[in-house]
Amino acid sequence: MIPHSSSARTNLVPVALAGTLLGVPMLLGIGYLVAGAFGYTGNASPSAPGRVLTDPQVLRSVALSLWIATIGTAVSLVGALIIALCFGGNSAVDRFARKVSALPLPVPTLAAAIAVLLLLSQSGWVSRAGFAMQLVSTPAQFPALVYDRLAIGVIVAVVWKELPFLALVALSLQSLRGVALADAARTLGATRWQALRTITLPLLMRGLAPSIVAVFVFVFGSLELALVLAPSSPLAVPMLIQERRQALDSVAHGDAYVIALAASAIALLAAVLHEALRAER
């Protein structure tokens, strides 16, 4: 931080403020989840967590959600880096590319998911284009991207929404710090590729690290994406929680709390990781 006159002191006021406004609703929410998970509300038993967390169906759901989050984030990252590195300049083309790549940013996830459903289902627009070009003659010949175990449809929707976000971060990092250092390396004799590999990329990756965690955890927990595009087997974690929660019997209700708690634990781990990375930069 740019020099400030007063030395930092342990001020309890911000703690109290943060505690009330941020902490209390979340802690209350998590508290109720814990109570429900261990059976203090409703009829679920204290042994529920053990049973639910070793259920193969639940584990498969977690695996699917982790898969979607990992691949989606990875592809978005690669795309964002390409945009930052190729279109970081000042030409008209560069500025146009940056503007167009920012278009999906404010689009709500639900709208994005619906659009992808209409485009990429086996009878969607892309498939119909394939039909018109005589590449496929029935919907079944088009690859199954939606309602499928590999969840490629979900991943495409993720990339559409998150690549612009990561690109925005990468571009700003580059404009803040990257260009000057890379140029300096070049004048000292490094090739373009060497400058990229040893200076620019590491710089970008370190700066992007917290954003990557944020994107990952957001995708993992997104209900809209799962509702519209995800497969039925395995069910994505948010859908699994919803399904169990909507059951009229209280044992299933209890299961929903346990899974929600587990998903929250993953999110909190990500929060810790994010904080460690944020302060590290």
Binding site: M1, I2, S5, P14, L22, L110, L173, R192
Partner: protein, 263 residues
């Protein structure tokens, strides 16, 4: 980067197609009737979905709720996050990191999970199924998101201007109004826009905490999709998107602010 005009041109075309095609698809679907495989273009067009969206009483309620929640969330979360972010920036590293952690956790928690807990909280407060309860729920991620933003703003704050004004004898109120506020105008407008968007696009929290009784535009869109009314769902999805584009365009989100903090 070495200039390969052909490759770059192709990349820009692909990028533009990728960015625009979902929006175009929604637009086409919103005016198309009975548009089935393998028709590449619709056999018939009409504006019934759009007129229903704008004229139906139930949609108007949903739109009104969405706007109300959005504006209230934006104002309340900005008003709360600004002092919180500043206080965090001025505190010891431990306090700062704890607050940043809490703020990020509020955004990171899967809305379905957070929603279950918040629903019980809101029911216990007697606000179940009410707009007030849903507002409380929206405030959680909005506050978290904006606190991180203001934390970043104040971490990079140059206090020398403030100190110079102080040495010249300006009172704290004047310093606040004449030095700090103008510099904060941009971050505040960004925060208002982002706070609005967090509430405006919210699905899971509204669904769970509202108990189905609070109608918002995203929930209406979801309902239409689940009723098989694709034409109306697409119109609704665009209706959901256009204000978002406007709000963000109006605030002109600064790349610098969002990156250093939300990153």
């Amino acid at each position: 980067m070495r200039r390969l005009p052909g490759a770059r041109a192709l990349a820009v075309i692909l990028l533009t197609t990728f960015a625009l095609s979902p929006l175009l698809m929604l637009l086409l679907t919103s005016v198309s009737r009975a548009w089935f495989y393998p028709a590449l273009f619709s056999p018939s067009y009409d504006m019934t979905a759009w007129t229903a969206l704008l004229l139906d009483a139930s949609h108007r309620t949903a739109l009104r709720n969405s706007l109300l929640l959005g504006v209230l969330t934006a104002v309340a979360s900005t008003a709360l996050a600004l002092p919180l972010g500043r206080a965090a920036a001025l505190s010891t590293p431990l306090v700062q990191r704890t607050i940043a952690l809490l703020a990020f956790a509020a955004v990171a928690l899967p809305p379905v999970a957070l929603g279950i807990g918040l629903q019980l909280t809101v029911l216990a407060l007697g606000l179940g199924g009410s707009l007030a309860g849903v507002l409380l729920a929206h405030l959680v991620p909005a506050l978290g998101y904006l606190t991180l933003i203001f934390l970043g703003v104040f971490l990079r704050w140059d206090t020398r201007l403030d100190e110079a004004a102080a040495t010249l004898g300006a009172a704290s109120g004047i310093r606040w109004a004449r030095v700090a506020l103008p510099l904060l105008r941009r971050p505040i407008s960004d925060a208002l826009a982002l706070g609005f968007l967090v509430s405006w696009s919210q699905v899971a929290l509204t669904l769970l905490v509202g108990g189905g009784a609070v109608a918002t535009l995203p929930l209406d869109v979801l309902a239409m999709l689940q009723a098989g009314q694709d034409q109306r769902a697409a119109a609704g999805a665009l209706a959901l998107t256009i204000p978002a584009l406007i709000v963000l365009g109006a605030a002109r989100v600064a790349a610098r602010n969002t990156s250093v903090v939300v990153a």
